[in-house]
C-alpha cells in the first residue's frame, strides 16, 4: 500500500506553517522512500496529491477552541464537530478538498488528519511557542502511524516487494 504524507499550510502565516514544518522534519526521520510532500497551494492540490494512494496522512493547522499546540487526530471526517475548522486563506482548503473528494469518490481508502491547534496566523510571525514545542510529539506520532500503516500493508500484501 502506498502511503503519502502531506504537510499542508502556508509558510508565512504564523502557525499555519506547522504542517509544512512537520513534513520537512519527517523527510530526515522516515525511510528514504517515504512519499512526503509539502503543499502550500489551494485545496485542489491535495486531491491530486493523494490520488492513487492507499493511505494519506495530512497535517494541517486547525482552530477548534482548544489550547494552542493541542494535537488532534481525526480518522473520521464525519465525526468533526461544527466548530472545527482548518486554517486556509483560500476559499478552498482541506475541509473542502475532503468533501469534494468524498463526492467524487476519490478519497484515499485510509485518510488520517493530524490537526495542530493554532494560536495565530499572523504574516511573517513564525510559530507560536506552544505550537513549536508540540511539533516533536506530533512528528513522533506520525512516525508511529506511518510505521503501522506500512507494516500492515506489508503484512496484507506479502506477494509484493
Amino acid at each position: 500500500m502506498h502511503v503519502v504524507i502531506l504537510g499542508y499550510g502556508s509558510p508565512d502565516r504564523g502557525d499555519d506553517a506547522a504542517g509544512l514544518l512537520v513534513a520537512k522534519h519527517l523527510r530526515s526521520h522516515l525511510p528514504a522512500g517515504a512519499d512526503i510532500r509539502s503543499i502550500a497551494s489551494d485545496g485542489t492540490a491535495l486531491l491530486a496529491a493523494w490520488q492513487n494512494a492507499g493511505a494519506a496522512i495530512v497535517i494541517d493547522a486547525v482552530v477548534s477552541g482548544a489550547q494552542p499546540g493541542t494535537i488532534h487526530r481525526l480518522a473520521s471526517w464525519r465525526s468533526l464537530p461544527q466548530s472545527f475548522r482548518f486554517a486556509s486563506s483560500h476559499s478552498f482548503g482541506l475541509a473542502e478538498a475532503v468533501q469534494l473528494a468524498e463526492t467524487l469518490q476519490i478519497l484515499p481508502p485510509h485518510l488520517v488528519i493530524y490537526g495542530i491547534e493554532a494560536g495565530q496566523f499572523e504574516l511573517g510571525r513564525g510559530l507560536s511557542p506552544q505550537v513549536e514545542s508540540a511539533l516533536p510529539e506530533l512528528c513522533r506520532r506520525i512516525q508511529l502511524e506511518y510505521g503501522a500503516l506500512t507494516s500492515a500493508a506489508a503484512t496484507v500484501s506479502p506477494g509484493k516487494s
Partner: protein
C-alpha cells in the same frame, strides 16, 4: 404606493476578495449601482518605495496567489526597460510558456469551480460535483497541469521564485520541459471537452456596446507584450497608457476605478483579447470558436466563459508549440547594471490588461510605483453591466435578480484582492 424591498446576500464566495453590491430601484428603474469594495487597501505601491529593483518581482508576486506571473512579468519588463536590457529569445519563450501555465490554472479554476455553478444552477462547486462528477474531475486535472507548468518553470506554483529582472534565476533543460508534453496533450483534450460543455450552457440575451481594450502583437496572440489597442481606434504604445487611462477614487470602493481619460468605462480580459486578436488564435481555433457560438465581435459578457475555455485550449496548444521550439539559453539571465529612469510595461493577466510603472534612482532603488490591475479597470464596466442586467429583469423575483447579478459580476472573474474578498448584495426598491 411605495414598496421597498431589500435583498441581502451575506457572502458571495466565488470571487477573489471582499466586496459588496448595492442596487437601488425606484419607479421600476435602476437608479444606482455600486460595487462596494471594502477589502482594506493593501498599499503595495507604497511598500515598493525604497526597495531595490531586485526585490520588486518577489514583492509584487504577493499581490495575488492566482495570477502572480502577471505581476512579476509586468514588473520585470518595466525594470528591463529602465536598464536598457534585451533578454534572450529563449527567455522570452520561457516567459510566454509560464504565462500559459497561469492562464490554464486561473481560467480553469474560474470556469469550472467559480462560474459554472451559476450556469448549472448550483450554489457552489461542491454541490455541482454531486451531479456533474466528470466535469469537476476534468476541471481539476486541467488546472493541475497549469499548476505543474508554473511549478516547473517558477520553482513553485504559488508566488513563483524563479523570475528575475533580466531573465530567470534558472532555466529548465529540454528534458524537463519534454516531461510536460504528455500532460499538456491530455490537458488539451480536457480543455476541448470542457469547451464543448460550457458552450452548451444557456446564455441570457444580453449585449452591450463595449470598448474592448487589450494588448495586440503583430505576430502572436498577445500575452507578454504588444501595443494597447481598442475597437474604437485606440492604438498606443504601453508608454502612453497614462495619457489615455486615468484612475479615480470613488467613495464606495477601496479600489480605484479606471476610466478612459475622456470619460467612459472599458472592458479588459478574455472577451477583449478574443475580439481584438481573433485571427491570431489560428484557423482551427477560430473555426472551433464559431462552432461554439462565439465570433467577433462577441458583446455578450456571459459568453466570456466560452472564451475563457477557448483561451485555455489555446494556452495548452501554445505551450506545446513553445516546448517544441525550446533550446536552453546560454545564460538564463543577462547582467544588470542599474541606472536611474522610468519604465512601464503591460501584460495580459488572465483577467485582462495589467499596467506597471516604476521610477528608480541610479542604484535601482524604487522611488515610485504605479500598478493598475485588470479588476480596477473593469469595475466601472461591471457596474454598468449590472445596471443593464437589473433594468432588463426589474419585475423578476429578488432571488432571480440576485442570481443573475452575481453571475454578471463573475463574468469578469474579478479579483478584488488584486484590486485593493465576498460580495454582499443589497437591493433597495422604493
Amino acid at each position: 404606493m411605495k414598496t421597498r424591498r431589500v435583498i441581502h446576500v451575506p457572502v458571495l464566495a466565488r470571487v477573489e476578495g471582499e466586496g459588496g453590491l448595492y442596487i437601488r430601484v425606484q419607479g421600476g428603474r435602476v437608479m444606482d449601482v455600486k460595487l462596494n469594495i471594502y477589502e482594506p487597501p493593501r498599499f503595495f505601491e507604497a511598500f515598493l518605495r525604497g526597495r531595490s529593483w531586485q526585490e520588486a518581482p518577489d514583492i509584487v508576486a504577493r499581490i495575488c496567489g492566482i495570477c502572480p506571473i502577471a505581476y512579476q512579468m509586468s514588473c520585470v519588463q518595466a525594470m528591463e526597460q529602465i536598464f536598457g536590457l534585451t533578454v534572450d529569445p529563449m527567455v522570452r519563450l520561457l516567459r510566454r510558456l509560464i504565462y500559459c501555465g497561469e492562464w490554464i490554472e486561473s481560467h480553469t479554476l474560474h470556469v469550472g469551480m467559480l462560474h459554472a455553478p451559476d450556469f448549472l444552477g448550483y450554489d457552489d462547486s461542491l454541490a455541482m460535483a454531486k451531479d456533474h462528477p466528470q466535469f469537476v474531475q476534468d476541471v481539476l486535472a486541467l488546472k493541475k497541469t497549469g499548476n505543474d507548468l508554473m511549478g516547473l518553470l517558477g520553482g513553485r506554483e504559488i508566488h513563483p521564485v524563479s523570475l528575475c529582472v533580466g531573465g530567470f534565476y534558472r532555466a529548465p533543460t529540454r528534458r524537463q520541459l519534454q516531461a510536460m508534453v504528455g500532460p499538456l496533450e491530455r490537458a488539451r483534450d480536457l480543455a476541448l471537452r470542457l469547451l464543448r460543455r460550457v458552450a452548451a450552457f444557456d446564455f441570457p440575451d444580453f449585449n452591450l456596446d463595449y470598448e474592448f481594450v487589450a494588448l495586440s502583437h503583430p505576430s502572436e496572440y498577445a500575452i507578454t507584450e504588444g501595443r494597447i489597442v481598442s475597437n474604437r481606434g485606440l492604438n498606443i504604445p504601453v508608454t502612453a497608457y497614462e495619457d489615455h487611462f486615468i484612475e479615480q477614487h470613488v467613495a464606495h470602493s477601496n479600489a480605484l476605478h479606471s476610466i478612459r481619460r475622456q470619460g467612459g468605462s472599458y472592458l479588459v480580459g478574455p472577451l477583449a483579447r478574443f475580439n481584438l486578436n481573433f485571427a491570431q488564435l489560428g484557423e482551427e481555433l477560430s473555426k472551433l470558436a464559431q462552432e461554439c457560438g462565439v465570433s467577433p465581435p462577441c458583446r455578450n459578457p456571459f459568453r466570456s466563459i466560452i472564451v475563457r475555455m477557448l483561451e485555455t485550449l489555446f494556452a495548452c496548444e501554445e505551450a506545446l508549440r513553445l516546448i517544441a521550439c525550446y533550446e536552453p539559453p546560454e545564460r538564463p539571465c543577462v547582467d544588470v547594471t542599474p541606472r536611474a529612469g522610468i519604465g512601464t510595461a503591460c501584460t495580459e493577466a488572465p483577467r485582462g490588461l495589467i499596467y506597471h510603472r516604476y521610477q528608480v534612482d541610479e542604484n535601482g532603488n524604487i522611488l515610485a510605483a504605479k500598478i493598475v490591475p485588470p479588476t480596477s479597470q473593469n469595475q466601472k464596466q461591471i457596474e454598468e453591466d449590472l445596471r443593464r442586467v437589473v433594468d432588463g429583469m426589474i419585475d423578476k423575483s429578488e432571488a432571480e435578480i440576485t442570481w443573475r447579478s452575481e453571475q454578471a459580476v463573475r463574468n469578469y472573474d474579478p479579483c478584488i484582492s488584486c484590486a485593493t474578498h465576498f460580495l454582499k448584495l443589497h437591493l433597495e426598491r422604493s
